[in-house]
Symmetry: C2
Subunit: 658 residues, 2 copies
Amino acid sequence: MEADAVVLLEKGDNKVPPTWIRPGAAVIRKLLKYQFQILTFLTFYLQNVVCSSSRLLQEQQYRPWRLRSLKLNPLTPVPSDIEISRAQTPKAVTQLAEEIGLLPEELEAYGRSKAKVRLSLLDRLQSQPDGNYVLVAGITPTPLGEGKSTVTIGLVQALSAHLKLNSFACLRQPSQGPTFGVKGGAAGGGYAQVIPMEEFNLHLTGDIHAITAANNLVAAAIDARMLHEATQTDKALYKRLVPSINGVRKFSPIQISRLQRLGIEKTNPESLSPQEVSSFVRLDLDPNKITWQRVVDTNDRFLRKITTGQASTEKGQMREVRDILVIGSDMRNRLARMVVGTSRSGRPVTAEDLGVSGALAVLMKDAIKPTLMQTLEGTPVFVHAGPFANIAHGNSSVLADKLALKLVGQDGFVVTEAGFGADIGMEKFFNIKCRASGLQPNVVVLVATVRALKMHGGGPSNLDLVAGGCHSNLRKQIQIAQLTDTEAEVALVCQIARECGAADAVPCYHWAEGGLGSVELAKAVKEAASKPSHFNFLYDVEIPIVEKIRTIAQKVYGAHDIELSAEAEAKIDYYNQQGFGSLPICMAKTHLSLSHMPEKKGAPTGFVLPIRDVRASIGAGFIYPLVGTMSTMPGLPTRPCFYDIDLDPITEEITGLF
Amino acid sequence: MEADAVVLLEKGDNKVPPTWIRPGAAVIRKLLKYQFQILTFLTFYLQNVVCSSSRLLQEQQYRPWRLRSLKLNPLTPVPSDIEISRAQTPKAVTQLAEEIGLLPEELEAYGRSKAKVRLSLLDRLQSQPDGNYVLVAGITPTPLGEGKSTVTIGLVQALSAHLKLNSFACLRQPSQGPTFGVKGGAAGGGYAQVIPMEEFNLHLTGDIHAITAANNLVAAAIDARMLHEATQTDKALYKRLVPSINGVRKFSPIQISRLQRLGIEKTNPESLSPQEVSSFVRLDLDPNKITWQRVVDTNDRFLRKITTGQASTEKGQMREVRDILVIGSDMRNRLARMVVGTSRSGRPVTAEDLGVSGALAVLMKDAIKPTLMQTLEGTPVFVHAGPFANIAHGNSSVLADKLALKLVGQDGFVVTEAGFGADIGMEKFFNIKCRASGLQPNVVVLVATVRALKMHGGGPSNLDLVAGGCHSNLRKQIQIAQLTDTEAEVALVCQIARECGAADAVPCYHWAEGGLGSVELAKAVKEAASKPSHFNFLYDVEIPIVEKIRTIAQKVYGAHDIELSAEAEAKIDYYNQQGFGSLPICMAKTHLSLSHMPEKKGAPTGFVLPIRDVRASIGAGFIYPLVGTMSTMPGLPTRPCFYDIDLDPITEEITGLF
């Protein structure tokens, strides 16, 4: 395979504590070989979508935007992220929208610097060919992250502001958990950022709040329903669920859906038999089989304790509403299909059964629209849907990518990122997101820091999923480290990456210089995109659930085999029996190792991957196995970031966000 | 006292089930007399602020807005609220802002029809005299509400669009609990509504979500801190709380505040004694005395169960962050002062002690700005802060009122409402909100429906806090009722109200006709505002806590006395000892009766008001006694509103909201 992978490294911000062991060339060579094996398994050949699109619509011309880019004057030493963000005045989002070809009626401004984009745009640009689709993925990261967002922003700044190519970044909206907990902001860093960074990192346009509200409305509906069923007769329940209004009783459309699922083809409430009334009014949820949980968007340990009917290690947030937002299409029906638990007779109980699906769609009606923002150089960015690649998709939304691909047009570039390492985010990007969207990436950019290479090289095992290294979260690094990567180290990694089959390997400097520092990367991406390639899925969704899990475990993680708990086996049988067997797999696994053991760095082999439990997100459309002892809810550390965050009451400026 | 109270009634939408007993003229006379007694206790004389302002700034002229009002063509029968709302096209919020004298840089548009208004406006209009301040309050309501919001909107539509007087409505943002639970929307009703009503009733500009996020961040911080304190030594905690970065340890400003509260006047982390380190790192929260709770903005029974350290009947949502938003001033410090619990040694532990106060201010930075919307006739409305007058303030924000009073100018009118009955919302408006703001109302409009008069008249006791009746939530009424108020009934109530001392009593028809139907009310309000009056507080904050509670119980509720539980007494002692004795009182009492017993209608006498517990919202700045068995968290009914709510995926129109 001739992988269109670009390996990149940034010199100057890859500092590691001097105690860390440095890998030799042999180790790096081994790592990179393994990485390209993985890439081959996952992608086979990345197809050049540009070529096939141009065949379809040759009459449509590439139209370069008249984008007024914002000037950068990078300082040395590089100031803090918030200082850089605040020193730049973003252009009005209405102006940006006009520059990239949006009509005024397609925009819903939220303040001066962010706006929702209406989905009617997709219809208007239906016949426009898509641009090139570029995925930024990473190596198995250190706990601090390896700077994929920063590479994504640096790359579009280079493409748009310096090579004058239409390009869009599509990013995930960060959760407030990391913002206030350990990680700090997620708007990129240094001179490659989305601005205003405080808007990006806080409420933005309220999507996460809408998701939370939708999720918690379901939770409240479950508990209320269980209480009412426990305390009322069939007749009383029926009287209240289908009340007589001015002497007339009528089913709501949501209730008619439930009747149909129960096989009752009646529409007159007076005509139901007592038996039918009983099936209609009683969801009869088994309290031990409720799979829906309350969420708050904070890393909240407490929520681990309050969930109902779950083993003690797997508490936390289920992110189905967010994952439905990622998929985007058919939202109303996907929300209705969400399974919240199982009845005592073993029947799945859905959001539609609770009568709440329409209200959920209403709560989500604005969240479905991507939010337009801009980079430090005034180039466009979509922010949409959520993080958490380890326990969920971890990708930004299909709708944002689709809108952006239309807006950039045939020769343009849409750069999106997949969360955590390629084993997690990229695998899900390919096998879940691309399967759902029908889109195919043209180029994969693999980000690695020398820091992470060293971590893997110095661990007990060999390195695995690393192609090269790039920029990372410098502020934290300066705190923990003293050493600077030598030029020789960077050159070594680039050389090895090319030997291993990367289309190119490029050091880049966007963190310190903005887009100008990533022009070489941008050129390499453009070159890689111009080559034909092919794309295939790792597995066929029609093979059995167990085989799908085993394929991922062996081909991607390097496991010898998988081992299913009795509970996991029973669940798989149940899902097969309910007709959910053909869904793709979304593994919930630690992102800190290829294996299920976070402390095992490099590429562990011979291990057996334990599947503790298997769940299903029927609305989002996937099965998600829980691997090992993975907690789906992170907690706050002793000294969370919030200690440093404050608001100046006079200037309204935020301090301490980074 | 010559009360500037206007009594109003709407004919045509006061329908009651025929089984309800109708009060005779004697009963109504008794009710109204009682009501004006209450009003006298609460207000003494309402001062005419217009006169005193004009003395201060005679050079500043009244400037009428050039407001383009939107035409209404009311239909008969009156369509549903959502149909009326959708049939009217709101003008762009930017245009509305310009018409009422806002500068473009003072506006942050959120989509086309709503915008945040920056607080810098207050500085710019500092020397502008305030307009007239009108409070809309209600009688003790039926569970369906008596239409105060609708009166408020109808009145400003009449004032602005028909009498061409600058006027602003200031409303509370509804909670999603009632929207999806029992009550339906809260944007007014019929031809007196805020539009678009679906925006008003859903996420709006995200303020409630910000409040929820802030609240839950505190909750997460509490649990994380308790875990870390339980599992780490003093030394380890200190190492993590004050980490060495590049060999340097530094306290954050929030940590220095804590040291100062502990009486440690040191700023060098290396200089603390082991004893000082221990006091600094250990909040030592007593798990049985944590008063902070998680919230979700849904009527969620489940949250009643998960709170920690609370008696089983008082679970639920504490609304201090929202109440701080109502007060508005000094937000950063008020958030810092919020008490989340008590240490084992009996010391109050604050949000500042948790290190989280700055982050809270950041989360709330946009929520502090009121949201501008418009009525069906295109007149301006501020929506800001929250409901829940029974367990919290129940008033819209001071900041919204202040901004509006400046914007309408000297001869203009700002109409705001206080939640539930006058015993609840109006009492808190006078004694908490006005005390905090320094503002004084010029006119009180008392809303009563014939339905509610009948409920009270027909109950076991006499009626109490009723002055007259007006419009109510018609849609619900039509569902439950057949009868129409006769003209004779309406005339009777108006006559009696005037006899009892009301400045005027006016039937009004805004629900069916829009502002035109409330022109008589608007004229009566204008007339009342032109008369001088005086305003006094019910109690002096410096009298003992128990006396303040007793004064409210006896003078407002008609209780014989109060009875404190042992817990309540202990808490009062504790608050006195901590220096919180001079705060005003915010009673948490059922809104369905003047007493603590929701089933007791009319004006019960001779009862002893049980004070189960006493809490303190130190940040918001009040003591709140819990009366009787009041649950602070409502639950969802068997058939919540959400059954009817849905989204048309093609047109994006919402159905089922009302």
